[in-house]
């Protein structure tokens, strides 16, 4: 119950938000929202000792039991790390947004989306059912879409939101396909059960395809190359959103997914190479592109891409520990997994901090373009301090937490390069590329600090007088800055209580044999990683000073390439293709549409009857009386006469003859309900016809070419013949046992002696309910089509 409550509290509070907003107003609504992650954070922190002892808090409720889909929630060490980030950073971001967003914005929408995202994200990390996880996964994409498009009047926001949505949902759907393959192999959606079947699944033919599809989901969400292109455009979102979704939480959902499935896929050669190579390439490409950005948020976006690549590659390195052919001590490889989690936590602190710093600069100065900034140190001393702490931590300098995790990354890369068990050779490049990317990281960290806060002040390029941010706005980044330093001095507390439990989820068997929590030390002697850090500083400073001279390199292929053009051309091709396809059949003439419908009917139903040889007319049933025959004649007469009448009103009346005759047939066949309904419907339809009469075009003889007439005639006759044949065939068919016996008990089962209504309202009430909804939608459709159609002489919305 407790576990389910954790996920659903944000949703409940989001549902209650509009009335509360009306009650307490714009000024206080942010505090109401902030309470949600704060309460959850406190609740989760209280659980830490239990989780650290290896306990798992779980709850399960049947949701769609027939399909094996349960509301299964499971709080373990792995989910815990992410949940602490979601609620912890969530609290700080909510606090920050109170000061960041002007009350003139539609705060109600913003906070509902934010809470929706929070609940969805907690759902992702706590789900123990694949389908539940998928549902929440897509919900994070949707809430991210809504938040990126928060300033929807801007073109860039809409473009960025659409791009993020298309790419992440594409990945989500392929992940769903991967999940279904897992279900096909294991017969269960329960994640913990699937992980438990690791041995029996090895060598299954669908294992690798499932892995690829799931990785596609993880890579699109966690912005791995070449799917990273959506993140820079997502920076159109308000800065608190960028800090929260697009650096601390949502983009880490892919990391979570990879960590979650490491016990299943870890040890596979393809898993190792996909993660390591995707991660390393993303790391380098992100860092390289971050240096050339002029917009501080774009710079941070590329740096986030780069660091997510780093975490992804660390998970790849760590997965070697699960390989049976790994030489040496598997715990040494598992240390890379530990480094991944440690980096993940540190990244959320320093990157969240930097986003908030950039938000402050944007908020107080009115721009975040480094070409217009400079010399802000003396105006904004506190913000400057925060920027230094965040940047130096990101660059991997002591005494900040980023130093520890970057050293661990170097160590892991060196280890894996010297002894990974799989054939290849690319692994020797990992430490080199990682080191190069760190140099770039150092360069752009220096750019953030130097170009914004140091250097010459350029007051003529900014509109406002620079000044320090209000105190409230500095609280949230202040807490993060403090954490950056505290974690440096007390890393082992975090290691033991937060990362250790996650390690035992990721390496369940290994953690039983050995302690997977290494002792993190700031001073670890003059070893290779430390020397690499010295190299980073030296080369980084050199590159920064000479940046102006080698900047031209960005104009040379392949360094100027972005993957954007591929995305744009794919989007364009998709639009053009669907236009061609739609124009092919949307002719605007209802006669064509009827021809398509009946042709389709003829081909499918008629073809099926013909192919299976099912046509078997049965003329034996019941005597056909004089009444039936005479009404058939009347109907045939009316139908044929309709083709030759000269006025529309006659045709309408003849159509009425057909309808009322059908009602009379219902009377013959003792179906009073149907007869009644048919009569009333016929009456109402006739009234409708008379109302529409005014608008219908003049009734003129058909002037289409003979060929069209013949084709349409064949289709019409064919459809009529087929319906007749079909009816006769169905009469003689007794393949399945009749189910009408069940309904005969309606008085006993449903308390009603009218079987028809017992079926409609009780036995098959679900159908009826949906029909009611469809009817309602149709009514609304007619209303909107008419009420919203352009006035004569107004804008043509169709654009034709």
């Amino acid at each position: 119950m407790y576990a389910v409550f954790v996920i659903f509290l944000p949703f409940i509070m989001a549902a209650l938000l509009p009335p509360v907003h009306r009650l307490i107003g714009d000024r206080l609504i942010g505090w109401y929202v902030m309470a949600v992650p704060l309460i959850l954070f406190a609740a989760l922190v209280r659980l830490i000792p239990r989780i650290a002892d290896g306990e798992i808090v779980s709850a399960s409720y049947a949701w769609i039991p027939d399909a094996g889909i349960d509301l299964a929630v499971r709080i373990d060490g792995l989910g815990m790390i992410f949940a602490l980030l979601i609620t912890g950073v969530g609290t700080l971001v909510a606090l920050y947004s109170i000061y960041y967003l002007s009350p003139r914005e539609s705060l109600g929408h913003f906070y509902v989306y934010l809470l929706l995202f929070m609940g969805a994200m907690l759902g992702v990390v706590f789900s123990d059912n694949l389908m539940l996880l998928y549902t929440f996964w897509e919900l994070t994409s949707i809430s991210s879409f809504l938040l990126i498009a928060f300033w929807y009047h801007r073109k860039g926001s809409r473009y960025g939101a659409q791009k993020a949505m298309l790419i992440t949902v594409m990945g989500g759907v392929s992940m769903l396909a991967g999940f279904l393959m897992l279900y096909f192999m294991t017969g269960t959606f329960s994640i913990s059960e699937i992980i438990g079947m690791r041995e029996s699944l090895s060598g299954a033919p669908l294992l690798i395809p499932a892995m690829v599809l799931i990785l596609l989901g993880a890579f699109t969400k966690s912005v791995q190359f070449p799917f990273h292109i959506w993140l820079p455009d997502a920076m159109e979102a308000p800065t608190p959103v960028s800090a929260y979704l697009h650096s601390a939480t949502m983009v880490k959902a892919g990391i979570y997914l990879v960590a979650l499935f490491t016990p299943l896929f870890g040890g596979l050669e393809s898993w190792f190479w996909s993660l390591s190579i995707a991660g390393i390439v993303t790391l380098l490409w992100g860092a390289f592109n971050a240096m050339k950005q002029n917009d501080l948020k774009a710079l941070l976006a590329y740096s986030t891409i780069s660091q997510l690549g780093l975490i992804m590659s660390l998970l790849g390195f760590g997965s070697v520990a699960l390989s049976e052919s790994a030489a040496g001590d598997p715990t040494a490889y598992a240390a890379a997994g530990f480094a991944a989690f440690f980096y993940l936590l540190n990244h959320s602190t320093f990157k969240g901090l930097l986003f908030m710093v950039v938000g402050i600069v944007d908020h107080e100065i009115g721009t975040r373009d480094i070409r217009r900034l400079g010399g802000l140190m003396s105006f904004m001393p506190v913000t400057f301090t925060f920027a230094v702490i965040g940047s130096f931590s990101m660059a991997g300098l002591p005494p900040f937490n980023g130093f520890l995790s970057k050293e661990m990354f170097f160590g892991a890369a060196v280890d894996v390069a010297s002894g990974q068990p799989f054939a290849g050779g690319a692994e020797v490049l990992f430490p080199v590329v990682g080191w190069l990317a760190s140099v770039f990281t150092f360069v752009y960290c220096t750019i953030i600090v130097y170009r914004t806060f140091l250097g010459p002040s350029q007051p003529e390029k900014i509109d406002r007088v620079p000044h320090e941010a209000p105190k409230g706005m500095l609280v949230a980044p202040g807490i993060l800055a403090a954490l950056v330093i505290v974690i440096f001095f007390f890393p082992n507390v975090v290691g033991k209580y937060v990362i250790g439990p996650a390690m035992s989820v990721m390496f369940p068997e290994l953690s039983r044999q050995a302690d997977l929590v290494p002792k993190i030390e700031a001073w670890h002697g003059f070893n290779l990683p430390l020397l690499m850090t010295f190299g980073v500083i030296a080369l980084g400073l050199l590159l920064f000073i000479t940046f102006r001279h080698w900047k031209k390199v960005y104009r040379v292929a392949p360094f100027r390439w972005t993957m954007d053009s591929i995305y744009r051309s794919m989007l364009g091709a998709g639009e053009a293709g669907s236009t061609i396809l739609t124009d092919l059949y949307m002719t605007g003439r209802s006669r064509d549409y009827f021809a398509f419908i009946y042709l389709f009917f003829l081909v499918t139903v008629g073809g099926m009857l013909f192919l299976t040889g099912a046509f078997d007319p049965d003329f034996t049933r019941g005597p056909v009386g004089i009444f039936e025959i005479s009404f058939v004649i009347i109907m045939a007469f009316a139908a044929i006469a309709m083709l030759f009448v000269r006025s529309r009103i006659t045709a309408t009346l003849l159509n009425g003859v057909l309808g009322y005759s059908v009602a009379i047939f219902f009377v013959f066949f003792r179906a009073p309900d149907l007869a009644l309904t048919q009569t009333v419907i016929e009456t109402v339809t006739t009234v409708l016809f008379l109302l529409c009469f005014h608008f219908l075009p003049e009734w003129k003889p058909e002037d289409s070419p003979l060929r069209t007439k013949v084709v349409n005639g064949i289709i019409a006759v064919g459809a009529g013949t087929l319906v007749t044949a079909f009816g006769l065939t169905v009469q003689g068919y007794d393949v399945y046992e009749s189910i009408s016996g069940y309904f005969e008990d309606s008085y006993k089962l449903a308390g009603g002696s009218n079987i028809v209504n017992a079926i409609l309202g009780d036995f098959r009430a679900f159908d009826t309910m949906l029909e009611v909804v469809v009817l309602f939608i149709a009514g609304i459709g007619v209303y909107t089509l008419i009420a919203l159609k352009p006035k004569k002489g107004g804008d043509d919305v169709e654009g034709k």
Binding site: L676, V687, G751, G752, L760, F776, I780
Partner: protein, 140 residues
Amino acid sequence: MKENDVILRTVTRAVVFIILTFGVELFLSGHHNPGGGFVGGLVLSSALVLLYVVFDIETVHQGVPFDFRKIAAFGAVISLLSGTGAAVLGKPFLTQGFGYFDLPIFGLTELATVTIFEAGVALTVIGTVVTIILSISKDV
């Protein structure tokens, strides 16, 4: 062109109530006899349509001041929600219950939850039919 429709108006005034009563009768009798929510709703809406055809929209609106779009939405919501009660009690969604109660005046009467469901159906039908006809006729 002004039409002389005195007869139609006079007849309508009396007939509308017969149709309305018939509609309610159909709705209530549906449990055991021909009728039910759908056809009951249709008959009721045809009475309204007759009113709209004979008198003009404004006149009818004074007597029947409802927003039929809202009625349609309300009906759809009722039929949706009528199923949730069963779900809360642990039965499959939309399971209907019935029982026999000894009520004053009526004597032993059968009460069934399906009536609520059918009421939702009827309201949706009325709302939708009148909405469609009104939107088309207002468009003239």
